[in-house]
Structures are given as C-alpha cells and as structure tokens.
Amino acid sequence: MKVLEMNHIKKSFGSTEVLKDISFSVERGEVVSIIGPSGSGKSTLLRCATFLETMDDGSMSYLGHSLVTSKNGKAVYADKKEIKEALTYFGLVFQNFNLFPHFTVMKNITDAPIRIQKRNKDEVYAQARELLAQMGLSDKENAYPGQLSGGQQQRVSIARALAIKPNILFFDEPTSALDPELTLEILKVIKNLAAEKMTMVIVTHEMSFAHDVSNRMIFMDQGVIVEDTTPDALFHSDNERTKAFLGKYYAK
C-alpha cells in the first residue's frame, strides 16, 4: 500500500520554478533517500509533502486519502479538518531540531499526543519513556533542550515525531547541523528505525549512509527527479548529471 503518493507537483517561488512536475510515491516499509545539490528542490518537495509549503499544482494523498487534487492546473487542498487529520499520518524531523525550549524533554514529546490527539496521559507517558529508552536518553526526561548536545536534541526531536504514531517519518537534512561524531549518533538511530520497518523519506547529504539505509534513492536536480532507483543502480548510473554530482562527493 502506498503511504504517500504525489503526482505532478509544481511549485514556484516568484519566477523561480523550484519543482517542475514531480511525481513520486512511498510504499509502506520503504526507506527512500533524496539527494541532490542545494537548490535542487528536495527540501521544498518535503515541505510540500508536510504542508509547510503550498504547492501550485499537483495532487497528493496519504494512505489513499486524497488531500490535494489538481483542478484546471491548480492545486486544490482538502478542508482544514481533513488536513488536520492528515498531520497525524506523518512526522517531520528538522535540520535545526526545532524543539520547544521552554518544555522539558518529556513535555516536548508528550504535549502534542495529549493536547492535540487527546490520547490517554498514562499511555502517552509510557510510550514516551519507551521512545527515550530507545534513543538512549532515559536520564534526560526532565532536562530542557538547551541543556542537551545537538545530537541529543535531534534524538529528542525524532522521539517527538514518533510519539504521534506516524505512518511515515520525514527527515529534512537531519545531520546538517551536527558535527561528524554526533552525525553518526543520529544515523545509527535512523538505521535502527529502518530495521524496525519504519517508513521513511530522508533528504540528506550523507551519501554512503543513504546508500546503506535506503531501499530506493532519488536524485533531484534543478527541480526534477533525474533518477529514482535502487542505491546500487544510482551509484553506478550512466546519467551524466548523476555521475557529476556523485563524483563531487567522491572527490572529497
């Protein structure tokens, strides 16, 4: 079953066309990495999928629920109630964590499930403690984000995204704000999630990690999907643009 399906997505900022007719979908249990140079549109694609940007044209559905349809060349969004419901289908992990600094780690994780999803408090706390244990942060329940390292903060933000029990988890360059050591910390967490068959879409610059963790890799450049294939096929691609991009990374 397709968790996410996006078709013919178009998005411009002013006169700059950032997404030019992009289509892609994610099956349950799949791990998809999106790579590409800065400005290729990969983050914008993720932001359209998570309702942080409004697409100009195209259609989108989560779990078969249509949320955006294309009518006369314009994207038409479903009503507020349906979108609100759709927000529980996915979680998003930001590059800069965006934890709430005035909440403890525990409250960061539990506030949305309790306040928004109206779930049982005890159940949410139990789940949060489980997630924190999984993230190796059991002793940080009552800490504030400002007291944690970047890697710890990012692990809390992953736990926060998982707490709403999403069907799919998006990562927007989750390690770009971290040093190499902390990056490994986060990559390990994502690998563990992949082993648990969590459906994930990861926008990243960590090429070898993307290769190892993904079932599928997408290479984007200048607002189009250049290739959408297996990691091995992508790394042995004959496509000139793909080769040029990957070549720059290997040259490092």
Partner: protein
C-alpha cells in the same frame, strides 16, 4: 504667631490616601494595557493592510504626543466636542482610559518585537505536530515571548509608576497632586521629599519583582 510646618511623617500621613489612588492607577493601567497591547500588536502585524495601517497610525500618535496632552483631551473632550457635563467621577475614569490607551501602544510594540524575534521553526514544528494557530500562539510562542520581553517591559512599568503623577494635570487626587497642594499650603519642600521617597521605594519594589520573574523564567535557555 509662628507658621506651622509639616514633618516628613505628617506628610506621609497626609499623602496616604493619595498613595492608594496612585497604586490604583498603576494596577488598573497594567490590567487593561497589558492585554490591550497584545490585541494592538496583532493588529499591527495583521495581513490586512487597512487594519495594519490604522494601528500603525494609532501607535504613532500615542508615542508621538505627550501623555499629559492625551489625558487632557480624553478628560475635556466630551465637554468640548459634545457639550457633555463632566462629572467628578469621570476624572479617575479618564486617567485610566488615557493611561491604558497610551501604555497599550508601547506594550504593543514590545510584544511585536518579541513575537517577531521568534524563529520560524517554532511555528513549523508546532504546525506539523497539529497545533492549531491559537494553540501554537498561547502554548508555544507566548511563553517564550514573555521571557524575551521582560526586560523591556520592566522599563515601561517603571516609567508608568512615575507617569501616574501626570494625573495632577486634571487635578485627580492621586499622591502627587496632593503633595503639590500640601507643599503649597505649608510652603515646604517636605511633601515633595515624601513623594520622592514613595516613588523611589515603589520602583525599587517593581524592579525587584520583575527581577524575580526574570529569574523564574531562567529555568530554560
């Protein structure tokens, strides 16, 4: 024979009821101006250009003209503009209206500076987690804004303590109006000394209380 003078202790005694009135002006102004300022700040940041510009002009006038003049306009306005009789009771009301309208404008700009300094990521994280716009504002944004604006707010509140004395311009019987009358009738500086001590102690307490709040907000970085 012998002109009766006034001691400091007597001055305080005589001024006691006025001090109560001054405190009343102070607290009532805060009570109305703090929430009103937030509403004005929303207007100032509105997407509606008409509303935004009206509020902008309002703030500009409130900041660009003397509070004493605003007070006189609000007190005498009903008489000059509509020929209404001004009752004694209206004096206190005029003071609270003028002070609240004026201070709300200053508070609005302080709120705005705090709200606009919040990183976009906080709104985005809240949105993706399903918080509605009011929930995002009151649960995520406002608590952080308050911490950021406390020092600026303290400045304004200290100014308010001293500005209460402007009520003398419509002869409203707060502490300073009484001190002036007392000084004139006894031909003595002592009532002014008492007034000065009162303001200083009042502001000392205000600064202490605000520092306490700032410390309380330091539970997170």
């Amino acid at each position: 024979m012998g002109v009766r003078t006034i001691t400091l202790g007597e001055s305080f005694q005589q001024l006691a009821s006025g001090m109560g009135t001054t405190l009343e002006i102070f607290f009532l102004t805060l009570l109305f101006a703090l929430p009103l300022g937030l509403i004005i700040a929303f207007g100032r940041m509105s997407k509606n250009a008409l509303l935004r510009n009206i509020v902008k002009i309002y703030i500009s006038i409130m900041r660009g003209t003397p509070l004493m003049l605003q007070l006189l306009v609000i007190y005498f306005g009903p008489y000059y503009l509509f020929n209404m009789t001004i009752s004694m009771a209206y004096r206190g009301i005029a003071v609270i209206i003028a002070f609240s309208l004026n201070y709300a404008a200053y508070f609005a700009e302080i709120y705005r500076s705090g709200i606009e300094s919040m990183p976009k990521g906080q709104y985005e994280a809240a949105k993706v987690l399903g918080y509605s716009k009011p929930q995002t504002f009151f649960v995520i944004i406002l608590p952080q804004v308050i911490k950021r604006i406390l020092p600026a707010l303290t400045n304004e509140i200290i100014t308010l303590v001293k500005d209460t004395s402007l009520a003398f311009s419509i002869a409203y019987m707060e502490m300073f109006t009484m001190a002036k009358a007392l000084a004139a009738s006894f031909k003595s500086m002592i009532p002014f000394v008492a007034a000065a001590i009162f303001y200083y102690v009042f502001n000392f307490i205000v600064a202490y209380v605000m520092e306490f709040f700032e410390k309380k907000m330091r539970y997170y970085e």
